[in-house]
């Protein structure tokens, strides 16, 4: 099916971002405690589920899902909780951007799937950051540990952001 080629490319990019998010949450969670550690664990699970969903969708399209890298270069040093929170927000921004590629596909179901996954990532990013962005996925703030914000003191949301796995259905 020739129409599947753009879909495979966009889904592979989203899968690569999910692999990186799983890694990033693993790093972030190690520097967090209490409610924020729990939120990081939830984020980690959400991205693992999304990764599996995307891999299944790509396989169903006749392609081979991209593998995770053995390690990822962090966008900034992560030695404490503040940087860990910003790392979590950063990986969500990256995931949001990757799903915008899925939104651009012509297939209506994939487009909505991408939009919902983008929304979930934006919700988690806003939870970590404590503030919202005007254009999640389209315009990401510069990476790096930022000035103190309410996000550093509040746990990330788990409500209102159903994991993409829930809507996928490949």
């Amino acid at each position: 099916m020739t129409a599947a080629a753009p879909a495979v490319g966009a889904l592979q990019a989203a899968l690569a971002a999910e692999h990186a998010a799983v890694y990033g949450y693993g790093v972030a969670g190690a520097h967090l405690s209490g409610a924020r550690r729990k939120a990081a664990a939830q984020g980690w699970e959400v991205h693992e589920a999304a990764r599996d969903t995307l891999a299944a969708m790509i396989t169903a399209l006749g392609a081979r899902p991209v593998a995770a890298a053995a390690a990822y270069r962090l966008p900034f040093p992560v030695h404490g909780s503040r940087a860990a929170v910003m790392l979590a927000a950063f990986v969500e921004d990256r995931v949001a951007t990757a799903y915008l590629g899925v939104v651009a596909l012509s297939d209506a179901r994939l487009r909505l799937f991408g939009a919902r996954a983008l929304e979930s990532a934006a919700l988690r990013a806003a939870g970590w950051r404590g503030r919202t962005l005007a254009f999640p996925g389209l315009e990401a703030p510069a990476p790096g540990p930022v000035s103190s914000g309410p996000g550093a003191s509040r746990p990330a949301p788990s409500a209102q952001s159903p994991p993409p796995a829930g809507q996928a259905g490949a």
């Binding site: 915008l100 939104v103 934006a122 503030r131 919202t132 962005l133 254009f135």
Partner: protein
């Protein structure tokens, strides 16, 4: 486009026809300046010519349009689907801005937390407007938003808690409305709509109970 070619063909035929009429009348006018007999003869010539011109005017457009009908010229072009989508999204953002303004007028103490969210709605609106090349107001087809989008027309609750709940519901509905238009938009517009919808969903999150907006 074949349609354009046909329209040009029609317009060209008419122009020639009218031009022919005008030229003949000028000629008749100069003849009338002479004797009375010439005047009478001129009238005969003019009528004969008018028939010919009428025949030309009537037949040429039909040939040029392939008998499509004369009414084709008068039909205004219908807006493209993505133009309609952008206009609807612009109306939605305008309404959201009105709601925030109405809330801020009723509950000024919310200015701190709501300010950044209102500013992001203004950014949404600006980005959407940049997508739309508006025709001149006179030629633009009538397009009225479903709800009048002026602060005076919006009734906002008077307490902070109720106001936040009101805006939260409005944000959720706005995000849903954008997602509903996603599949009829071209790819890059769909990306913008999805991003704005995600932004509005995050607004709703921060407006929710137990969270501080802004």
């Amino acid at each position: 486009m074949p349609g354009d070619g046909q329209r040009h063909g029609m317009l060209g035929a008419r122009t020639v026809g009218h031009g022919a009429v005008r030229d003949r009348r000028r000629h008749d006018g100069s003849g009338r300046d002479g004797s009375g007999r010439e005047d009478g003869g001129g009238r005969v010539v003019r009528e004969a010519t008018r028939r010919g011109v009428l025949a030309t005017v009537v037949s040429l457009p039909l040939v040029a349009t392939g008998c499509k009908g004369v009414g084709a010229l008068g039909t205004p072009p219908r807006p493209q689907p993505d133009v309609t989508v952008v206009r609807d999204a612009i109306d939605g953002e305008t309404l959201m801005i009105s709601r925030y303004q109405a809330v801020l007028a009723a509950v000024p103490s919310l200015a701190g937390p709501l300010g950044p969210l209102l500013q992001q709605h203004r950014e949404h609106l600006a980005r959407l407007r940049a997508r739309l090349i508006e025709p001149a107001p006179a030629s633009r087809p009538a397009h009225s938003p479903a709800v009048a989008a002026s602060p005076a027309a919006v009734q906002a609750p008077g307490t902070p808690t109720a106001a936040r709940a009101y805006l939260r519901e409005a944000e959720q509905a706005a995000a849903q409305a954008l997602l509903g238009r996603l599949t009829v938009a071209p790819p890059s517009l769909a990306q913008l709509l999805a991003s704005i919808a995600a932004s509005e969903a995050t607004h709703a999150l921060l407006l929710g109970p137990g969270r501080r907006a802004g």
